[in-house]
């Protein structure tokens, strides 16, 4: 296995799933956190956005996840400018097109793993029976077939994050956004979570991992480095795998 590293911006893929054009974000204060981000992400990419704490990574994830809108510039998903969509349309977009994985997992207490995962289909209008069976399948896929009915409190950190990944992938989203998915895990379990995300990418899902950890970033096919709200490098690693 040889890695050919190019340090130039890769050719913009013809099939862009996500585009950030001149994106700036100002928080009340006012503080400008992102100072003009241009980024194009192709369908099926496995990408990391890496940078030190406070550099604006989570802000970027929120914008890419349509959880917030840029102050200026635009975010396009599948060619659609998200600023043109209503709250209901954005919500629907998130329900069907986007999957999220967070450092804190955000599992709902007192609700079994299956029902937590099934919540990933709740807002797409899928009936309960189908949600549950899809959740069982998703949990089996992340290796938690034996933990279906455990409440989050009874799960280890790695298991919780796998439940969260199952929840993110259950709706078969085009894009999965993960914000520090290994941030609360030890290296070993972190590795397992990353290989799950890599597997997910193998199925054609675009996976965007945000991390402050260069080691995690290096495990991804493309690394976008951000510092103080600006992209400072964008490196693609092409893998030549002998099959």
């Amino acid at each position: 296995m040889t890695a050919v590293v190019t340090s130039v911006q890769p050719d913009a893929p013809s099939d862009a799933v996500m585009e950030l054009v001149g994106v700036r974000k100002t928080y009340p204060g006012p503080v400008e956190v992102l100072h003009g981000i241009d980024l194009t992400i192709g369908r099926g990419e496995l990408l990391s956005i890496v940078g030190p704490s406070g550099s604006g990574k989570s802000t970027m994830l929120h914008l890419m996840g349509t959880l917030d809108l840029p102050t200026t510039g635009s975010v396009l998903i599948d060619g659609v400018d998200v600023a043109t969509l209503s709250d209901r349309q954005l919500s629907s977009f998130r329900a069907r097109t986007l999957g999220f994985v967070f450092q804190q997992f955000y599992l709902i207490d007192g609700v079994s793993a299956v029902d937590n995962v099934a919540n990933g289909l709740l807002y797409s209008g899928v009936a309960l029976g189908k949600r549950r069976s899809a959740a069982v399948a998703a949990l089996k896929r992340v290796g938690l077939g034996h933990r279906l009915y455990s409440p989050p409190a009874k799960l280890s950190g790695g298991e919780r994050q796998r439940v969260a990944i199952a929840r993110a992938l259950i709706a078969r989203p085009a894009i999965v956004l993960a914000d520090e998915p290994t941030g609360s895990l030890d290296t070993q379990t972190g590795q397992e979570v990353l290989s799950l995300l890599r597997e997910l990418n193998g199925d054609g899902t675009t996976v965007i991992v945000i991390t402050h950890d260069p080691a995690v970033a290096k495990a991804m096919d493309r690394q976008v480095t951000i510092r103080d709200g600006l992209i400072v490098s964008d490196v693609a690693r092409t893998l030549e795998v002998a099959r």
């Binding site: 709250d87 209901r88 629907s92 069907r96 919540n119």
Partner: protein, 401 residues
């Protein structure tokens, strides 16, 4: 997935909304229980007050129905001297001639006292009145005998008395003993029986009744009645009441007092209402406190569950979905409190009805109203927290850990 399909919003079904709300409550069972308690207590108070009042009123109304509201009582008004006078001798024949009058009967006061034996000092009358009565008095008053028999056309001619319920007790008759005697005006009278209480004629309860012929014989009493009881056809009560004074005493109709004894019972039903308003007021206060409690719990819940709200928004919940989730929680809390309160109220009413030996009556309006009021309270209490939850921006919700 095509973009067009992705932006077409899916609706969250009502059952899913309820399910999401319920899961929020079942995750915090103790808190949910306590916050529903206020509403439950308020609704239980209201339901049981209405139920108890309806049950006791039903009993009173049933009593009123069996006694009839078509009884009129005619008495001579007070004279200037303050003493009660007798009605004219012609009063009864004249009254019987009024067409809607079904039956009439009378009593006349006998100026004598009744004692258990003649050894009792004459001052101790125990408030027992001695009266002459027509043999159809019991029937006219819709009364009944507790023991023994009433005066008959035979016994009215002899020293025989029938005792009212209170009079019997005061004379020391816990039970009627055949051939027992009382002393009236120094003569022994055989007690023929004891009457059951007569709610329409409480003064009969305190009387010893003998026949008119015997009263005339023993006390030289004229047969002019002091009180005439009149049963009319039920729809003519007012009309008959209007003509009675002039019929009874044509020259001085204003010396005749006509009353409707059932008014006293009706007044008791009304008095019940006044008493109820007090308890209903207390119930309303409990409900208000319960509603404020739910609002309080919902506000705290929204603050605590910011990250859940953020997560749900990330999973695709619309603002409306989030609002409805918290509204559903609040409605479920209050609704469960309402249902529990209604159940508790019915149990309390049932205990009352069983101990008082009256029929259980729970007004449908109390049940439906109780649940409707709790849902209304839940809606009001939950609205503000739900709107706050919906307005929360997803990023703010996710950042607060």
């Amino acid at each position: 997935m095509s973009t067009a399909a992705a932006v077409r919003p899916a609706r969250l079904s009502l059952t899913d909304t309820v399910r999401v709300g319920a899961s929020g409550l079942s995750a915090r069972p103790l808190r949910s229980l306590l916050s529903a308690l206020g509403i439950a207590i308020g609704i239980a108070a209201v339901t049981s007050v209405l139920g108890i009042s309806a049950s006791s009123q039903a009993a009173l109304i049933a009593q009123l129905d069996s006694l009839g509201t078509n009884l009129l009582q005619v008495q001579a008004g007070q004279t200037f001297g303050g003493s009660t006078s007798s009605l004219p001798l012609t009063a009864e024949p004249m009254i019987s001639r009024i067409a809607p009058v079904q039956v009439e009967s009378s009593v006349a006061t006998v100026s004598a006292n009744a004692y258990r034996t003649h050894y009792i000092p004459s001052g101790e009358t125990n408030g027992i009145q001695v009266k002459a009565a027509k043999t159809n008095l019991l029937q006219t008053l819709a009364g009944s005998m507790s023991e023994g028999s009433f005066l008959t056309s035979a016994t009215e001619n002899y020293p025989v008395v029938v005792l009212g319920d209170v009079a019997a007790q005061r004379l020391g008759f816990d039970h009627w003993i055949p051939n027992s005697l009382v002393d009236i005006g120094g003569q022994e009278y055989v007690v023929a029986g004891i009457m059951s209480p007569m709610p329409l004629a409480p003064d009969i309860d305190r009387s010893a009744l003998m026949g008119y012929p015997q009263a005339t014989k023993a006390f030289g009493m004229s047969s002019a009645p002091t009180t005439v009881y009149v049963r009319t056809s039920p729809d003519q009560v007012d009309a008959v009441g209007g003509v009675l004074p002039a019929t009874v005493n044509p020259p001085n109709p204003n010396e005749v007092t006509v009353s409707q004894p059932s008014d006293a019972l009706s007044a008791r039903i009304a008095a019940n209402d006044a008493f109820n308003s007090l308890f209903l007021g207390l119930g309303a206060v409990a409900l208000l406190v319960g509603g404020v409690g739910i609002a309080n719990v919902m506000v705290i819940s929204v603050l605590e569950r910011r990250s859940e709200i953020g997560l749900r928004r990330a999973l695709g919940a619309t603002k409306g979905n989030v609002r409805n989730q918290f509204l559903a929680e609040s409605l479920l809390l209050a609704g469960a409190g309402g249902v529990a309160g209604v159940a508790l109220g019915i149990i309390i009413t049932l205990i009352y009805a069983t101990t008082r030996n009256v029929q259980l009556v729970v007004p449908v309006s109390a049940v439906a109203g109780g649940i409707a009021i709790s849902l209304l309270l839940g809606g009001i209490a939950g609205l503000y927290p739900a709107i706050r939850a919906a307005r929360l921006s997803p990023t703010d919700a996710l950042r607060s850990v």
